[in-house]
């Protein structure tokens, strides 16, 4: 179990909420963990179980069916999910999409989607990345052209989390292609609209429980009321949501690293070599001491960042620094934890192997480490 005894960002209500999260995961997630990996996706019953227990979108206001809590509750879910070793896409909905709908959506949009996002009946995705456009969103080629009272969307997206399950997708598209980034808008597209097709559930190194997909849009007509917020403001919306997205990734990275460390400790204290436990070797102890030090510092930093974010003070540069450091640390810690397992670490039946696979992408998605450095350097 994730040890939270020395954390400072949480109060007793968070602790009670954490108990609930653990109970739900014990029942609905852990028994299905391997099946979700094999099926390359979690299933709808899991989403509904999370929704029923109040785990989804905890920040959504009560008038839209939510609990109206602070982001600390999202963080609790992020930590427990990552510590469980799952790559389920519920955090994308809670930490990212819900925020877009609630903050920029019209009253109709909020009433239509948020209550069912909270229950898990509606699963969402956000489609930014394209085959030719990653962090450089100016390179987006998907267009949404006006035609009477409608937009006609054409283009393709890739690496979209929740791509297979999603009932609602926020599509980042150019409404004024000549204006570059300033001509970008966020358009809501629902499952079943003609011309909207899902491509492959992509074969990835890790994160096998996440249905990461291609999406195709061919002459997809949606009413202009599907524009989220103001037209041509999409780029600004995307930029202002970055801190929360990056903090969310940092939190999950750190919790996953802690799990790998805990796995390694348990393994080396049990396994014997050359007449003593592996833990008895100085190299093992020093490696673990090094990892424990990094983890301790990391938790202190996360609590700081989390508290700042709840107060609305976390800057994009700070959140980017957090994502950079925690995901890089995750890579180091999990790799070392795997090494301590010896040959067993390379076997998929051990949790550390899955953590290692799943970790590789965190230095890439949500902006690569190199992009994080660019962002941080702009603040200097």
């Amino acid at each position: 179990m994730l040890d939270t005894s020395s954390r400072v960002a949480f109060d007793e209500d968070h602790a009670m909420f954490r108990e609930t999260v653990r109970k739900v995961f014990d029942r609905a997630l852990l028994p299905n963990l391997d099946r979700f990996e094999v099926e390359s996706s979690v299933d709808r019953p899991f989403w509904l179980a999370c929704g029923e227990a109040g785990l989804l979108c905890p920040t959504v206001k009560e008038e839209y069916g939510g609990l109206g809590l602070d982001f600390g509750y999202n963080a609790v879910v992020d930590e427990e999910l990552a510590y469980a070793g799952s790559s389920a896409g519920i955090t994308l909905q809670s930490d990212i999409v819900a925020e877009y709908i609630e903050r920029y959506g019209s009253k109709e949009q909020r009433e239509k989607y948020l209550p069912r996002m909270v229950t898990g009946e509606v699963i969402t995705a956000i489609a930014m990345t394209e085959p030719g456009a990653g962090s450089d969103l100016q390179g987006i080629r998907t267009t949404a052209k006006r035609d009477g009272n409608h937009y006609v969307i054409n283009g393709s997206k890739t690496y979209i989390t929740n791509g297979q399950l999603a009932d609602l997708v926020i599509v980042v598209a150019k409404t004024e292609p000549d204006l570059g980034a300033k001509g970008t808008s966020l358009i809501l597209v629902e499952r079943g609209v003609e011309g909207f097709e899902r491509g492959r559930n992509l074969d990835k190194i890790g994160q096998h429980s996440a249905d990461t997909s291609e999406l195709f849009f061919q002459d997809v007509r949606v009413p202009m009321t599907n524009c989220l917020g103001e037209e041509n403001k999409g780029f600004i919306y995307l930029m202002s949501q970055l801190p929360q997205e990056r903090l969310s990734i940092a939190i999950q990275a750190h919790a996953a690293a802690q799990r790998a460390f805990d796995e390694a400790v348990a393994f080396v204290k049990d396994r014997r070599a050359f007449g003593k436990t592996v833990f008895d070797f100085q190299n093992t102890k020093f490696t673990l001491a090094d990892l424990k030090t990094q983890l301790q510092i990391g938790w202190a930093h996360l609590d700081w960042a989390l508290q700042r974010h709840v107060q609305g003070k976390l800057t994009t540069a700070e959140a980017s620094a957090a994502k950079l450091w925690h995901t890089e640390m995750q890579g180091r810690v999990i790799d070392a934890a795997l090494q301590l397992h010896g040959g067993a670490g390379y076997m998929n039946e051990y949790m550390v192997a899955r953590l290692w696979r799943d970790a590789r992408v965190t230095r890439i998605f949500g902006g690569t480490s190199e992009i994080m450095k660019e962002v941080v350097s702009r603040s200097i």
Partner: protein, 378 residues
Amino acid sequence: MNFDLSDEQKMLAEQMRGLLGKRATPQRLRSLIDAGQEWDEPLWRELGELGFLGAAVPDVYGGLGLSELDLGVISEELGRVNAAVPFFSSVVLAADAIGLAGTQAQKARYLPGIASGETVATFAYAEGSAGWSDPAVHAVLEDGRLTGTKSPVADAGVAGLAVVLAKAGGRLALAVVELEQPGVLRTKLESFDQLRAHYSLRFENAAATPLEGAAAARVMPMLMDRAAVQAAFEGVGGAEACLHMARDYAAGRKIFGRSLDSYQAIKHKLADILVGVELARSSAYYAGWAAVTGAEDLPTSASAARLMAIDAFERAARENIQVHGGIGYTFDANCHFYYRRERTLALSLGGRERWADRLIAHMPGRQGQGNARGREAA
């Protein structure tokens, strides 16, 4: 291809090691520092008499006519003991500059003295933090007269002669300058390596002899590559000395009831240093071979050897102190000699960045791309 040293080179190494093991001890280095000496003059004379200083100088100019690899063997042994002699300045840089850029008559005039050790020369290339790329050089050579300031210049306190990088008619030029003349002002710079003192040299209308055998702009990159190879050998020697010091100390020191070297953390540390030293040595050998044969890949192999040696020596010098613990931080232990020399060596000839740029600019496939080459210092 045989990558090992020849029997003659192994003998040369043994001979050097035997001599330096007796003459260039840590006690000797301490007594030089205590006496305020900048070099070990008796050792220099002895090395000259035995022919080591002229090893790579052609025999027609009073040297032994051996190869750059032989010179590397000597550099490695000097690095191993941290010797207080201006070998790198005089033999590696100045003699090679004259050899590459001088006319036959100029070589005949200067090289025999350097080869015998009677003349100590140095090479004045940098101009402060601006460095020594073409736009950074402001010293002016006109009608056999030199005006300008070069700094830092190693060993300029004990040198009688300097090869100076300057501009003549707007182009890079090399000239030989006698340092004992009214137009030359030497100012010693405070630095942390007392046994390789650095100076600022101010020239005011000083008499200078332009080297006219080859264009300086063409000579400089090759000269620096060849010097980088020797610096790599020197670094390898120093790094290996640190490894052996750390090993010997750990073997003799008892802690918590057993010897320090029985701890896994120490063993792994020593193994890491050794890996670095071996990789750096192999790179230096290859670059030495490229210097001997004039191979096309001298720029890449010299840069690689330089980078590997900087890294290996840096790690070895630092970890040697760490293995020693508190005593390693004191003046009484000998770790600091290598720690200082490592920094001096790493920052001479342009630091890591300069050589990383050069390596990238000359990587196979990059040759046609003028931009990358244009960016690096000449």
